[in-house]
Symmetry: C2
Subunit: 139 residues, 2 copies
Protein backbone atom coordinates (compact mmCIF):
# COMPACT_ATOMS: atom_id res chain seq x y z
CA UNK A 1 0.00 0.00 0.00
CA UNK A 2 1.14 3.54 -0.63
CA UNK A 3 0.00 4.83 2.71
CA UNK A 4 2.59 6.81 4.61
CA UNK A 5 1.84 5.92 8.20
CA UNK A 6 2.33 2.15 7.89
CA UNK A 7 5.73 0.51 8.20
CA UNK A 8 6.84 -3.08 7.83
CA UNK A 9 8.17 -4.81 10.94
CA UNK A 10 11.31 -6.92 10.89
CA UNK A 11 11.09 -10.51 12.12
CA UNK A 12 12.71 -9.73 15.46
CA UNK A 13 10.07 -7.15 16.26
CA UNK A 14 7.31 -9.49 15.10
CA UNK A 15 8.46 -12.16 17.55
CA UNK A 16 8.84 -9.67 20.40
CA UNK A 17 5.26 -8.56 19.86
CA UNK A 18 4.03 -12.15 19.57
CA UNK A 19 5.66 -13.04 22.88
CA UNK A 20 3.90 -10.17 24.63
CA UNK A 21 0.36 -10.93 23.53
CA UNK A 22 -2.00 -13.79 24.28
CA UNK A 23 -4.90 -13.75 21.83
CA UNK A 24 -4.60 -14.62 18.13
CA UNK A 25 -7.06 -15.02 15.32
CA UNK A 26 -6.48 -18.20 13.39
CA UNK A 27 -7.80 -18.82 9.90
CA UNK A 28 -7.88 -22.01 7.90
CA UNK A 29 -9.54 -23.40 4.85
CA UNK A 30 -12.69 -25.16 6.03
CA UNK A 31 -15.05 -27.33 4.01
CA UNK A 32 -17.40 -24.39 3.75
CA UNK A 33 -14.90 -21.58 3.19
CA UNK A 34 -12.41 -19.84 5.41
CA UNK A 35 -12.84 -20.38 9.16
CA UNK A 36 -11.67 -17.58 11.44
CA UNK A 37 -11.75 -17.62 15.25
CA UNK A 38 -9.95 -15.99 18.18
CA UNK A 39 -7.85 -18.30 20.34
CA UNK A 40 -5.44 -18.19 23.26
CA UNK A 41 -1.89 -18.90 22.20
CA UNK A 42 1.62 -19.25 23.58
CA UNK A 43 5.02 -19.01 21.90
CA UNK A 44 7.40 -21.92 22.62
CA UNK A 45 10.20 -23.60 20.71
CA UNK A 46 9.83 -21.13 17.86
CA UNK A 47 6.23 -22.15 17.27
CA UNK A 48 2.78 -20.90 18.20
CA UNK A 49 0.67 -23.26 20.30
CA UNK A 50 -3.07 -23.43 20.89
CA UNK A 51 -4.63 -25.71 23.50
CA UNK A 52 -7.97 -27.24 22.66
CA UNK A 53 -10.18 -30.28 22.75
CA UNK A 54 -9.54 -33.19 20.44
CA UNK A 55 -12.94 -32.85 18.80
CA UNK A 56 -12.96 -29.05 18.42
CA UNK A 57 -13.30 -27.46 15.00
CA UNK A 58 -9.89 -25.89 15.65
CA UNK A 59 -8.23 -29.29 16.11
CA UNK A 60 -10.09 -31.05 13.34
CA UNK A 61 -9.88 -28.19 10.85
CA UNK A 62 -6.23 -27.28 11.20
CA UNK A 63 -4.40 -30.59 11.76
CA UNK A 64 -2.13 -31.28 8.85
CA UNK A 65 -3.04 -28.08 7.03
CA UNK A 66 -1.62 -24.64 6.42
CA UNK A 67 -3.03 -21.99 8.72
CA UNK A 68 -2.75 -18.24 9.02
CA UNK A 69 -2.49 -16.69 12.46
CA UNK A 70 -2.92 -12.98 13.09
CA UNK A 71 -2.03 -11.18 16.33
CA UNK A 72 -2.58 -7.47 16.72
CA UNK A 73 -2.88 -4.58 19.09
CA UNK A 74 -5.33 -1.80 18.39
CA UNK A 75 -5.16 1.59 20.09
CA UNK A 76 -8.62 3.05 19.55
CA UNK A 77 -7.76 6.35 21.18
CA UNK A 78 -4.66 7.06 19.13
CA UNK A 79 -5.71 5.36 15.89
CA UNK A 80 -2.57 3.28 15.97
CA UNK A 81 -1.60 -0.36 16.26
CA UNK A 82 0.33 -3.28 14.92
CA UNK A 83 -0.46 -6.60 13.29
CA UNK A 84 1.69 -9.70 12.89
CA UNK A 85 0.75 -12.57 10.59
CA UNK A 86 2.25 -16.05 10.80
CA UNK A 87 1.76 -18.67 8.12
CA UNK A 88 2.69 -22.26 8.68
CA UNK A 89 1.67 -25.86 8.95
CA UNK A 90 -0.43 -26.97 11.90
CA UNK A 91 -0.10 -30.32 13.62
CA UNK A 92 -1.74 -31.84 16.66
CA UNK A 93 0.46 -32.66 19.63
CA UNK A 94 -0.74 -34.64 22.64
CA UNK A 95 -0.43 -32.95 26.02
CA UNK A 96 2.06 -35.67 26.97
CA UNK A 97 4.42 -34.59 24.20
CA UNK A 98 4.49 -30.81 24.47
CA UNK A 99 7.41 -28.77 25.87
CA UNK A 100 7.29 -28.63 29.67
CA UNK A 101 6.40 -24.96 29.76
CA UNK A 102 3.12 -25.72 27.98
CA UNK A 103 1.78 -28.41 30.27
CA UNK A 104 0.11 -25.84 32.50
CA UNK A 105 -1.02 -23.57 29.68
CA UNK A 106 -4.43 -22.12 30.54
CA UNK A 107 -7.04 -21.21 27.97
CA UNK A 108 -10.26 -19.33 28.49
CA UNK A 109 -12.83 -21.89 27.33
CA UNK A 110 -13.59 -24.59 29.89
CA UNK A 111 -13.13 -28.25 29.06
CA UNK A 112 -10.56 -31.00 28.95
CA UNK A 113 -7.97 -29.56 26.62
CA UNK A 114 -5.94 -32.64 25.94
CA UNK A 115 -4.45 -31.65 22.61
CA UNK A 116 -2.30 -28.81 21.37
CA UNK A 117 -2.12 -27.36 17.90
CA UNK A 118 1.43 -26.45 16.99
CA UNK A 119 1.93 -23.94 14.18
CA UNK A 120 5.46 -24.03 12.84
CA UNK A 121 6.00 -20.70 11.07
CA UNK A 122 7.04 -20.70 7.43
CA UNK A 123 6.63 -16.95 7.12
CA UNK A 124 6.20 -14.13 9.62
CA UNK A 125 5.26 -10.64 8.52
CA UNK A 126 4.13 -7.61 10.41
CA UNK A 127 3.35 -3.97 10.15
CA UNK A 128 2.81 -1.05 12.42
CA UNK A 129 0.41 1.83 11.87
CA UNK A 130 0.79 5.07 13.76
CA UNK A 131 -1.53 8.02 14.09
CA UNK A 132 -1.67 10.21 10.99
CA UNK A 133 -0.41 13.73 11.51
CA UNK A 134 -3.08 16.32 10.72
CA UNK A 135 -1.40 17.36 7.48
CA UNK A 136 -1.23 13.78 6.23
CA UNK A 137 -4.97 13.76 5.61
CA UNK A 138 -6.59 10.47 6.55
CA UNK A 139 -9.78 10.85 4.55
CA UNK B 1 -17.29 -27.27 21.04
CA UNK B 2 -18.35 -28.85 24.27
CA UNK B 3 -17.08 -26.03 26.42
CA UNK B 4 -19.54 -24.68 28.93
CA UNK B 5 -18.65 -21.00 29.05
CA UNK B 6 -19.28 -20.22 25.38
CA UNK B 7 -22.72 -19.34 24.02
CA UNK B 8 -23.95 -18.66 20.52
CA UNK B 9 -25.20 -15.13 19.78
CA UNK B 10 -28.41 -14.48 17.89
CA UNK B 11 -28.25 -12.31 14.77
CA UNK B 12 -29.71 -9.27 16.52
CA UNK B 13 -26.95 -9.32 19.11
CA UNK B 14 -24.32 -9.86 16.43
CA UNK B 15 -25.44 -6.72 14.60
CA UNK B 16 -25.61 -4.68 17.80
CA UNK B 17 -22.04 -5.64 18.57
CA UNK B 18 -20.93 -4.93 14.99
CA UNK B 19 -22.45 -1.46 15.14
CA UNK B 20 -20.54 -0.65 18.29
CA UNK B 21 -17.08 -1.61 17.11
CA UNK B 22 -14.76 -0.15 14.49
CA UNK B 23 -11.97 -2.60 13.71
CA UNK B 24 -12.47 -5.88 11.84
CA UNK B 25 -10.14 -8.56 10.58
CA UNK B 26 -10.89 -9.47 7.01
CA UNK B 27 -9.74 -12.70 5.38
CA UNK B 28 -9.85 -13.73 1.76
CA UNK B 29 -8.37 -16.31 -0.50
CA UNK B 30 -5.22 -14.78 -1.99
CA UNK B 31 -3.03 -16.17 -4.72
CA UNK B 32 -0.59 -17.32 -2.08
CA UNK B 33 -3.01 -18.58 0.56
CA UNK B 34 -5.36 -16.87 2.96
CA UNK B 35 -4.79 -13.13 3.48
CA UNK B 36 -5.77 -11.70 6.85
CA UNK B 37 -5.53 -8.04 7.88
CA UNK B 38 -7.16 -5.63 10.33
CA UNK B 39 -9.24 -2.84 8.80
CA UNK B 40 -11.50 0.00 9.83
CA UNK B 41 -15.14 -0.70 9.01
CA UNK B 42 -18.58 0.83 9.21
CA UNK B 43 -22.04 -0.74 9.11
CA UNK B 44 -24.47 0.86 6.63
CA UNK B 45 -27.42 -0.42 4.60
CA UNK B 46 -27.09 -3.86 6.15
CA UNK B 47 -23.55 -4.25 4.85
CA UNK B 48 -20.03 -3.83 6.15
CA UNK B 49 -17.91 -1.22 4.42
CA UNK B 50 -14.15 -0.71 4.25
CA UNK B 51 -12.56 2.38 2.74
CA UNK B 52 -9.31 1.91 0.89
CA UNK B 53 -7.17 2.77 -2.10
CA UNK B 54 -8.02 1.40 -5.51
CA UNK B 55 -4.68 -0.38 -5.80
CA UNK B 56 -4.54 -1.81 -2.27
CA UNK B 57 -4.31 -5.54 -1.71
CA UNK B 58 -7.62 -5.25 0.13
CA UNK B 59 -9.38 -3.80 -2.92
CA UNK B 60 -7.69 -6.03 -5.48
CA UNK B 61 -7.93 -9.20 -3.43
CA UNK B 62 -11.53 -9.02 -2.29
CA UNK B 63 -13.44 -7.48 -5.22
CA UNK B 64 -15.85 -10.02 -6.62
CA UNK B 65 -14.92 -12.70 -4.10
CA UNK B 66 -16.25 -14.21 -0.91
CA UNK B 67 -14.65 -12.79 2.21
CA UNK B 68 -14.80 -13.56 5.92
CA UNK B 69 -14.88 -10.67 8.37
CA UNK B 70 -14.31 -11.14 12.08
CA UNK B 71 -14.99 -8.51 14.76
CA UNK B 72 -14.31 -9.20 18.40
CA UNK B 73 -13.81 -7.76 21.83
CA UNK B 74 -11.30 -9.29 24.20
CA UNK B 75 -11.30 -8.59 27.92
CA UNK B 76 -7.83 -9.64 29.03
CA UNK B 77 -8.51 -8.96 32.69
CA UNK B 78 -11.67 -11.04 32.92
CA UNK B 79 -10.79 -13.70 30.34
CA UNK B 80 -14.00 -12.94 28.50
CA UNK B 81 -15.05 -11.62 25.14
CA UNK B 82 -17.16 -12.01 22.04
CA UNK B 83 -16.55 -12.66 18.36
CA UNK B 84 -18.81 -12.10 15.36
CA UNK B 85 -18.05 -13.53 11.92
CA UNK B 86 -19.64 -12.30 8.71
CA UNK B 87 -19.37 -14.17 5.42
CA UNK B 88 -20.38 -12.57 2.17
CA UNK B 89 -19.48 -11.33 -1.24
CA UNK B 90 -17.28 -8.25 -1.57
CA UNK B 91 -17.65 -5.65 -4.28
CA UNK B 92 -15.91 -2.36 -4.96
CA UNK B 93 -18.01 0.80 -4.82
CA UNK B 94 -16.75 4.20 -5.90
CA UNK B 95 -16.87 6.98 -3.33
CA UNK B 96 -19.38 8.75 -5.56
CA UNK B 97 -21.83 5.86 -5.20
CA UNK B 98 -21.78 5.06 -1.50
CA UNK B 99 -24.58 5.91 0.98
CA UNK B 100 -24.28 9.52 2.18
CA UNK B 101 -23.25 8.53 5.68
CA UNK B 102 -20.10 6.93 4.31
CA UNK B 103 -18.73 9.84 2.32
CA UNK B 104 -16.89 11.21 5.34
CA UNK B 105 -15.82 7.83 6.68
CA UNK B 106 -12.33 8.12 8.16
CA UNK B 107 -9.82 5.33 8.20
CA UNK B 108 -6.51 5.21 10.02
CA UNK B 109 -4.08 4.73 7.11
CA UNK B 110 -3.30 7.91 5.23
CA UNK B 111 -3.91 8.15 1.49
CA UNK B 112 -6.57 8.91 -1.08
CA UNK B 113 -9.21 6.35 -0.23
CA UNK B 114 -11.38 6.63 -3.29
CA UNK B 115 -12.96 3.21 -3.21
CA UNK B 116 -15.07 1.29 -0.74
CA UNK B 117 -15.34 -2.44 -0.33
CA UNK B 118 -18.89 -3.46 0.45
CA UNK B 119 -19.43 -6.84 2.08
CA UNK B 120 -23.02 -8.00 1.77
CA UNK B 121 -23.53 -10.62 4.48
CA UNK B 122 -24.73 -14.08 3.52
CA UNK B 123 -24.22 -15.45 7.01
CA UNK B 124 -23.60 -13.84 10.38
CA UNK B 125 -22.58 -15.91 13.39
CA UNK B 126 -21.29 -14.98 16.79
CA UNK B 127 -20.39 -16.30 20.16
CA UNK B 128 -19.65 -14.97 23.57
CA UNK B 129 -17.20 -16.37 26.09
CA UNK B 130 -17.37 -15.48 29.73
CA UNK B 131 -14.94 -16.08 32.56
CA UNK B 132 -14.87 -19.65 33.77
CA UNK B 133 -15.94 -20.15 37.36
CA UNK B 134 -13.20 -21.71 39.46
CA UNK B 135 -14.99 -25.06 39.65
CA UNK B 136 -15.37 -25.28 35.90
CA UNK B 137 -11.66 -25.99 35.53
CA UNK B 138 -10.13 -24.21 32.58
CA UNK B 139 -6.98 -26.29 32.20
Amino acid sequence: MSTANIATLVAYDCWSLLEGAEIARVAWQGEDGIELIPVNYTVADGSLWFRTEADSSLARGTAGHEVVVEVDHVDLADHAGWSVVIRGGAELVDVLDVPDMLVDMRVWPTGAHTVFVRVEPDRVTGRRLWAARPNEGDA
